[in-house]
Amino acid sequence: MKRTAAEPVWRVTATPAALEAISHLVAERGSVMFFQSGGCCDGSLPICFDNGEFIIGGHDVLLGTVGRCPFYIDGRQYQVWRHTQLILDVGDGAPEGFSLPAGGDKHFVTRSRVFSAEERAALDDP
């Protein structure tokens, strides 16, 4: 698919199912935040917290927003993940870790896609 130069490239996006889950969470609890986890067990999953629950450090990177909620990643992890776009989605089953559920018996998942060379060139921090 051809992109126009004006079209921005997002480091993180969300599927309609994820956006719907976020809007329910926000309506129910107020704003939420996401942090991309790594390593072991539930690693590689996005963890959804009430906004402010997880303390953001100076080396964390704000990848973008999903449904107006911030999505962060550890700065060191960012360095090894930055060639991929993260796509927030929803999967079946309650969260196995500390994340808020994506409504009912659902959990948030991160899907990934490797950026094309063209997209990488268009990123602020390619």
Binding site: F35, Q36, S37, G38, G39, C40, C41, D42, G43, S44, L45, I47, F54, I55, D74, R76, Q77, V80, W81, H83, T84, G91, D92, G93, A94, P95, E96, G97, F98, S99, L100, P101, H107, V109, R111, S112, R113, V114
Partner: protein, 509 residues
């Protein structure tokens, strides 16, 4: 006569009884969750629920903390001999029920019984015995500050500790945490992982009569609810956690809010490094090294120290990998209750999905799939289970499949030129939990072992977890050590009595 295939828990003739429903183990008794909620517990072998466990809430954590606080005075003052006796009795009870617990663990987690019978459960037994011994050797220290002044240092228990364990070794990780906590005179409130809450309750049934009430308390339920309630509680004096990095940070943040210590063990991406001289002879050692590479499939790759990056010296890459792939091809996948099975199902549907998505990322990144690469479709009773083919991806260390823990039977393999290259690639990771080095050259093995930034470097072996060998992470793999008597320090605080035996005033006032 030994059984080749164990009967699934709960079925006629099984070694393992399954009740329809399990409550929390609090104060030595079975206590229903305050809000009366339960959740289905699924076996990954066939994807079907086989019992219910308590879906606890913060109120249940409070009940467990009440019980632990009631017990902490007497247990903290129990003599070293009494503590050791209880730990030994726990070990004896587990040993007497070894096959039953092994089958329960396999059924709930999916790991093959050949592992639980030979490793998980015997290691639990040994772990309690090790700490029974360690507690007998606990000694305080004293310093003679001057002729009339003595500084006495006593180990005092912390009191009540919180412990959160992962799903990959539900019983062994619980043993790693419970044994030192008790040995140091503490009472514990333990939360098992959400996918594997049941086998630890079977263990509680076995040890209920030999542990004073309230010393061990187990509360099951969702991490976000009861894990948080436990970790944030001002009524715990320490939190121990094994799991992934963000939750580890969260645990440390909660600990900081209450100003209590934490130990966290947070995963890895361990390099397994094979030097060319492993192929200098075609002998038993080469066979061991080939098996050493295939150990990435141990416990279906759900191991924090999974040797998930193989670095093979380029001069032997083709010949060595031919052997290794031949061995991987012969891995028997299937019912974990069959002694012949080498790899069972992943612990949950969520994990299976994550593994598949990683292999897909690897393909997009340009990795070459040498074997496997997709979920395994098994038939009959196993059709609904969460099986993934043993997989090998060839690529380079900058790919995400080389950098991120997949927690499945997926090996990322690459080559290196020489020793310096091996060190550089081996250390090019955020993690530092484990590593393996394989060579016939002792000098090289030593240099590599010291150069790799990881808490444990297995040398000419892998995946051994004996009590007495300290285990823990460098870099973002965690803080603290387990599996060693130094744990007693992690679970104690130091009381200093500074005593003057002089009768003379200081003379200041």
């Amino acid at each position: 006569m030994t059984t080749d295939v164990f009967v699934a828990p709960g079925r006629p003739g099984s070694l393992v009884e399954v009740k329809p429903r399990y409550e929390n183990f609090i104060g030595g008794a079975w206590v229903a969750p305050v809000k009366g909620q339960y959740m289905a517990n699924v076996s990954p072998v066939n994807g079907k629920p086989f019992c219910e466990v308590a879906k606890s809430t913060a109120e249940d954590v409070e009940l467990a903390l009440d019980a632990a606080h009631r017990a902490k005075g007497a247990w903290g003052e129990a003599s070293l001999a009494e503590r050791a006796a209880v730990l030994n009795r726990i070990a004896d009870a587990i040993e007497a029920n070894l096959e039953m617990l092994a089958v329960a663990e396999s059924w709930e987690n999916g790991k093959p019984v050949r592992e639980t019978l030979a490793a998980d459960i015997p290691l639990c037994v040994d772990h309690f015995r090790y700490f029974a011994g360690a507690t007998r050797s606990l000694e305080g220290r004293l310093t003679e500050i001057d002729k009339d002044t003595v500084a006495y240092h006593f180990h005092e228990p912390l009191g009540v500790v919180g412990q959160i364990v992962p799903f990959n070794f539900p019983l062994l990780m619980a043993a790693w945490k419970i044994a030192p906590a008790l040995a140091a005179g503490n009472c514990t409130v333990l939360k098992p992982a959400s996918p594997t809450p049941w086998s630890i309750l079977k263990l509680a049934e076995v040890i209920a009569d030999v542990v004073p009430p309230g010393v061990i308390n187990i509360v099951t339920g969702p991490g976000g609810e009861i894990g948080k309630a436990l970790a944030t509680s001002p009524r715990i004096a320490k939190i121990g956690f094994t799991g992934e990095t963000t939750t580890g940070r969260l645990i440390m943040q909660y600990a900081a809010e209450n100003i209590i210590p934490s130990t966290v063990e947070l995963g890895g991406k361990s390099p397994n490094i094979f030097f060319e001289d492993v192929m200098a002879e075609d002998d038993e050692f080469l066979d061991k090294a080939v098996e050493g590479l295939v150990l990435y499939a141990f416990n279906k790759g759900e191991v924090c120290t999974c040797p998930s990056r193989a670095l093979v010296q380029e001069s032997i890459y083709d010949r060595f990998m031919e052997r290794a792939l031949g061995r991987i091809q012969k891995i028997i996948q299937g019912n974990p209750l069959d002694r012949a099975t080498m790899i069972g199902p992943q612990v949950s549907a969520q994990q299976l999905e994550k593994i598949a998505s990683y292999v897909e990322i690897g393909r997009q990144e340009g990795a070459e799939c040498l074997i496997g690469g997709q979920p395994a479709e098994l038939k009959g009773e196993l059709a609904g289970g969460y099986y993934f083919q043993p997989t090998v991806l060839k690529g380079n260390n900058k790919m995400r499949v080389f950098q991120e823990e997949i927690f499945g039977p997926v090996l990322a393999v690459t080559t290196f030129k020489d020793e310096a290259d091996a060190v550089e690639i081996g250390n090019d990771t955020l993690y530092g939990l484990g590593a393996g080095v394989w060579t016939r050259n002792g000098n090289l093995a030593y240099r590599m072992g010291r150069a790799i930034k990881a808490g444990r470097v297995w040398t000419n072996c892998y995946h051994l977890y004996p009590a007495g060998a300290a285990f823990g992470g460098y870099k973002i793999s965690g803080v603290g050590r387990e599996n060693h008597q130094m744990m007693l320090e992690h679970y104690s605080q130091t009381k200093n009595l500074l005593v003057s035996y002089s009768t003379k005033p200081l003379g200041f006032f």
